[in-house]
Amino acid sequence: MASSDRYEDVVRTRNAEKFAEFDRGKKSVWSRFHDALHSTPALVPLIVLLAACIIFGLVLGSKFFSPFALTLILQQVQIVGVLAAAQALIILTAGIDLSVGAIAVLCSVIMGQVSFRYGVPAGLAVPIGLACGTAIGAANGWLVSRLRLPPFIVTLGMWQIVLAVNYLYSANETIRAQDIETSAPFLQFLGTKFTLGGAVFTLGVVLMLLVVLVLAYVLRSTAWGRHVYAVGDDPEAAQLAGVDRHKTLMSVYMVVGFICGLAGWVMIGRFGSVSPSATTGVIGNIQAITAVVIGGISLFGGRGSIVGAFFGALIVGVFELGLRMAGADPQWTYLLIGVLIIAAVTVDQWIRKVTA
């Protein structure tokens, strides 16, 4: 009662304290599942993905589970998959990149034009294209980090700039697949096919998987990865805690530019030709963002896993192909994909809630 009471002395002697340990007794399957979901957030989109596959499998039968259909999905998502990995990195820093698709298309055009217009060997044209992608990424990064402009605006502007440069530089001319095949086949390298248990894969698909796995490792298990999360989570706090915000952001945007360059190379492998008017330039950004968000990465940064983004891309791919195979006409497919995007995220939220 009196303020002269030396009450703090009570805690001067340390009692043997025990950690309040959580019980390690037998666990039910449900609570193991719980724990798994908590430690691996990418499991949620994986569940949605599997559910989608099962439903389409039931409706479409063996047609859907044929090696042909299943490899087709991988073929069809390879570009979006690579772009989604890039986009996920940016979104983890609480940014957004509207220019990813345009950079990919421009890089493919540069690889093609550098070979065909200036006669540079394809083995050199590809690195030149990748370097250009990295440079555009660096420009984005500098504007975001140094001038502190909002990423949305920077990449919105860059999207328009890159797309315009793409058309102006290429004079809207397509380089035909046949011509590439004869004079610069290395440009189509990622289109190389190989068979694995009846299913046909391309090196482009392998590259996509590699990009996702490497990024997943780097984000989880290196200091740089932790810094990316910290900057996205609370940039002020990260800076106060000793993270170099500028270096982190610059490196993220440059890596993203490089990955977009890879996506451009993947595009040549997939389409055979080099075309400046590829749709990826216009809607690649929205496709990539959709995959990322369906994959459970928060648009506010700092939360989510890159593997989730990859599953997100697959979910959209499965829906699209499944609906087409089920015979929905294009306008109805378009409508149903809208419904399914919302449904997928609803299921995702619901799983998170019941297991919270």
Binding site: V11, R226, H227, Y229, D233, L240, A241, G242, V243, G302
Partner: protein
Amino acid sequence: MTTPVLEARGLVKRYGKVTALDHCDFDLRPGEILAVIGDNGAGKSTLIKALSGAVIPDGGEILLDGKPVAFTSPNDARAQGIETVYQTLAMSPALSIADNMFMGRELRMPGVMGKVFRKLDRKRMEEFSREKLAELGLMTIQNINQTVETLSGGQRQGVAVARAAAFGSRVVILDEPTAALGVKESRRVLELIQSVRSRGIPIILISHNMPHVFEVADRIHIHRLGKRLCVIDPKAHSMSDAVAYMTGAAVPEGHLEPA
């Protein structure tokens, strides 16, 4: 008189219409615990933000071991061994306790995994964190992989204090480190402060808890209206004096030290 470790002359910082620092001076001597006290809004946090590179002052200069320095980011100050617990704690809420403890100075695995693949050594980081938190008596943290956003207010503060004490090598700055702490945990922080000092590292302690300040401080810097009013010796002055000075109820007689 020895050169101060950290010194500031005539610091000025304005925020729009508000003057947070108004030609403020500051000295930290080697090996001492210097308390900084003052009313809410007096400018204490702004002062230590300027000293630790988190805020770039509009005027005045900062000297480290007598040499002028110009920190442009907290990283610059950290590189010089100045470690700070900010009032806002500076944690990444979505990351784990261990991630936050080691933010910016992560430990890598030994051998190839660490050198080539730059893999983090999570086990070592977690063990170290657990140990440091146990020292503070934060036994109630049930899971070292909990994200910081799920910690209670006091637990969060404990993590921040443990981080600064563990890594500070030249100066440790603590902005109200016990504000959210319980009786036992506060006590542990005071012990920790004294053990840091016994390693020869000087400490700046901002606190509103007078008994604590008078218990551990070697000197007390009294801050009022954006500047240093005076510096007093806790052995020669009573808490009542200190409170009277800092609230403006009394004016310090003469100048106790060049303020």
